[in-house]
């Protein structure tokens, strides 16, 4: 029946004002269309609704009323747009409810943004933040993201927005980068980051970093993004001494990194260089030893090497982002010549998306676990019905896509992401392919928590999070069934949900695009994490069979080693400081430079490693105490969730007390700053025997006076190397 597209059909309505007959035609069209709408069609309908409402509000409301029984997407959306244009935001939000979970991508973004707008306007801010975040996560269109950023800014003036972290980010560039700011702000909100953004003056990145009185210095950035472009390097098409050029350009940036880290105390994100799509020398540009194409690639490699030696510096692979986006569209010569803007407007969301992914990593907000459905995700078909021989896995085009997806997941797991299974299946069916199918890439040892039953997925996801000791906001759910995805989205909005495409050939790309798993470094703890969770589950079995906690601990045969911070353990320490939430007394986040500064200033530093008969948990505890007056103030104290409940906090505190006594401190002070996640340590100091001494700002204060004995649990064997290290390292 509908031979023309909706967009074309709408175009035939021409310009307002519309006659009653025309409006009736529009009603007929909108209420009979049942197919899904494209983003452009949503926008067109919105314009028409706005035009009708501005010329004749009565006609608009009448049309909205006539559309009420319409169940097609086109009718629902037009009705919502009409109601919004007439200021009936509560009804508009209600009209959108049916549509919200039906779409992915840009259409989803537009629907979520409209829902958020109407919910804010009708005074339901608490329900509006989530759709606004969903809009920010789903959109790749500059305009949608800019509008989301505006809505966010307006709404924040009235109510407090939910954020996981805040971050002061400076964007310094050799080009006009102003237009990235609103887009990045929206994308950061989607990631739970409250981004305060400073834009440096055009092409003054070097002065900004070096001048102690610059706007940048006053801004006190936590992260500095140095967004230099390939043109700013001033390379000739064929350089005579290529090695010198590479060394020189690299050294210049390295010196800026040092200034940024040491003087400004900021983490650095350095953009690398796009090798542009066109060069007068053509393919020779990369083939000639001094060709510009060759040099840009050489500089990129040199930057990665330099960043590997410079802690607190991460390289954003702009060349790869541009390639993925399409270099033909990455730059816009008109905008370059008229406004020195690079990359193009349409490319900004792609750049912002990866920048946000890196900020997540820096702030410790990257996701820690993927909960996988099985049937239709790891293999084709249904194991419970088709059996081992019937499922599609390897051995042909349909099965190979699943093998490739499993390989991708295995690589992700290598970066420290935990894999879990969350499947509606009989458990004995679910494990069968893992044990017996020859084409399975993932085996049981790769899965940290394996849950197959017939309970609701929300319940199982909660159980997985609990077994891993992580928050729901650190989890990502992968399921091919849109109904399950929608249920999880509605019931557990903290969880990241991947919109898995219908075709398994697209699974890898869908995961690759989500930007939730970026990591800055792979530590040895990352590599052993799955084994460690599996060991923990075994420990729990032991716990339930042994009597008292102390009996259990004695059976575990725990060995603890305490060391001062050093070059080797520093990356892991910084990682823990930035991502530990639960056992964390002060939740003070800081980067590599700040930790070094504390250590240099004479702080007592303690890194705790624990092992037991099931395995080595690695470096899992961090304590920093700063001399103040005649005492020591515990500035930072945290433990990874995988070693909790083993009285290790007493071992750590015992060592601190010993150190304080030997170095003639009179007391130790501690503080507790409450967050949404650290209530379990609210009374830690009291449990250790400290006196509560009151409140200062948001901190609850505690004090341990020296001269008393502190008895650490005897069944924990401790090797303490922090005592002789002395104050200054």
């Amino acid at each position: 029946m509908h031979t023309v597209s909706l967009e074309l059909a709408l175009l035939q309505f021409g310009d307002p004002p519309y006659s009653a007959a025309t409006i009736s035609e529009l009603w007929e069209l909108a209420s009979s269309r049942e197919t899904a709408c494209a983003a452009a069609e949503f926008l067109r309908l919105e314009h028409m609704a706005g035009a009708i409402a501005s010329t004749n509000a009565e006609a608009a409301l009448d049309l909205a009323a006539r559309l009420e029984p319409a169940r097609g997407d086109c009718g629902c959306w037009l009705r919502a747009s009409l109601l919004e244009a007439c200021g009936r935001s509560a009804e508009a939000a209600d009209a959108l409810r049916f549509l919200r979970e039906k779409y992915s991508g840009e259409e989803r973004a537009l629907l979520m943004l409209a829902a958020a707008r109407n919910l804010f306007a009708s005074g339901h801010a608490n329900q509006a933040w989530n759709p606004l975040a969903e809009a920010c996560k789903s959109s790749a269109v500059p305009r949608t993201l800019r509008n989301a950023a505006r809505l966010l800014a307006q709404a924040r003036k009235k109510t407090e927005a939910p954020f996981r972290r805040s971050c002061r980010i400076a964007l310094l560039s050799s080009v006009t980068i102003d237009f990235l700011a609103p887009i990045l702000k929206a994308q950061c909100f989607g990631a739970g980051i409250d981004a305060e953004i400073y834009i440096g003056p055009f092409n003054q990145y070097e002065q900004e970093i070096r001048d102690p009185h610059s706007g940048l210095a006053r801004f006190r950035p936590e992260v500095i993004a140095i967004g230099t472009d390939w043109r700013s390097l001033g390379l000739r098409d064929d350089e005579e001494s290529p090695e010198e050029v590479v060394r020189g350009r690299c050294a210049q940036l390295e010196s800026l990194w040092r200034e940024s880290r040491e003087r400004l105390g900021a983490t650095v994100i350095q953009f690398n260089y796009e090798a542009p799509p066109f060069d007068g020398l053509g393919q020779l540009s990369a083939a000639l030893p001094g060709g510009r194409g060759r040099l840009l690639r050489a500089i990129n490699v040199a930057l990665w090497e330099a960043a590997g030696r410079a802690p607190g510096v991460a390289i954003l692979d702009v060349d790869q982002i541009a390639g993925r986006f399409g270099k033909d569209r990455w730059s816009d010569p008109v905008l370059w010549h008229t406004a020195k803007q690079y990359p193009s407007a349409e490319a900004m969301p792609a750049l912002g998306h990866q920048l946000t992914a890196m900020l997540r990593a820096i702030l410790g907000l990257s996701s820690k676990c993927i909960a996988l459905d099985l049937d239709g995700v790891l293999w084709g078909g249904v194991i419970g019905e088709d059996g081992l021989a019937g499922i599609k896995l390897g051995g042909g085009p349909a099965g190979e896509a699943f093998v490739e997806f499993q390989r991708y997941l295995q690589s992700l797991a290598r970066t420290g992401v935990l894999l879990a299974v969350c499947s509606k299946n009989n458990p004995e069916d679910a494990v069968l392919p893992f044990r017996q199918h020859p084409e399975m890439v993932l085996r049981e040892r790769d899965i940290a928590v394996f849950i197959a039953n017939w309970k609701a997925k929300e319940e199982n996801l909660r159980a997985i999070a609990a077994a891993m000791n992580i928050g729901l906001d650190a989890m990502v759910f992968v399921d091919d069934n849109p109904v399950e995805r929608s249920r999880v989205r509605q019931n557990l909005p903290e969880i990241g949900v991947i919109d898995l495409p219908a075709d398994p050939a697209q699974y890898v790309a869908a995961m690759g695009r989500c930007g939730l798993f970026e990591t800055l470094a792979i530590t040895s703890e990352d590599r052993g994490r799955t084994a460690s969770i599996r060991e923990n589950l075994e420990r729990r079995t032991l716990e339930s069979t042994s009597g008292s906690v102390d009996d259990y601990l004695a059976q575990l045969d725990i060995k603890v080693q305490l060391t001062p911070f050093d070059e080797v353990n520093l990356p892991r320490i910084v990682q823990l400081i930035n991502k530990t939430n639960q056992f964390n007394l002060t939740t003070r986040r800081c980067g590599d430079a700040e930790v070094r500064a504390l250590r240099a200033a004479g702080a007592y530093t303690q890194a705790m490693r624990a092992s037991d008969r099931f395995g080595d948990s690695g470096l899992t505890g961090v304590l920093i105490a700063i001399p103040e007056g005649g005492g020591l103030r515990v500035d930072t104290w945290l433990m990874s969730c995988r070693v909790l409940g083993r009285r290790l906090e007493e071992v750590m505190f015992g060592a601190l007390v010993r150190y304080a006594a030997q170095n003639k401190y009179m007391y130790i002070t501690g503080e507790y700053i409450s967050t949404a996640k650290n209530s379990q340590v609210a009374d830690l100091y009291v449990r250790l025997g400290c006196a509560a001494t009151g409140q200062k700002g948001e901190s609850r204060l505690f004090r341990w006076d020296m001269g008393r004995m502190f008895l650490a649990p005897a069944m924990l064997v401790c090797e303490d190397l922090t005592q002789r290290a002395g104050a200054a390292v």
Binding site: D15, P16, H47, R143, R146, F179, V334, T338, A339
Partner: protein, 80 residues
């Protein structure tokens, strides 16, 4: 108000972050101080996104009033 005007007004409102702005043909950088060089780029980008067209360098430089912007868009067949 035609649909083109309606869409253009929305672009102006978004570019200058002013939800009460009303479009009129005489609006230009001279009469409207917020229309600076950065604002101009925002407008051109907004038009390109909204109408699916690409401005040339000349068109970008010359479209410095609502009337001229509309003329450029009409010449490009935008919104039809």
């Amino acid at each position: 108000m035609t649909l083109i005007d309606q869409r253009l007004q929305q672009i102006f409102r978004e570019a200058f972050e002013d939800d009460k702005l009303t479009l009129n043909d005489s609006l230009s950088p001279e009469t409207f101080p917020a229309w600076d060089s950065l604002g101009h780029v925002k407008l051109i980008m907004g038009c390109e996104e909204e109408f699916g067209v690409k401005f040339t360098i000349e068109e970008t430089i010359e479209s410095t009033s609502v009337a001229q912007l509309k003329a450029t868009l009409a010449a490009k067949g935008a919104g039809r």
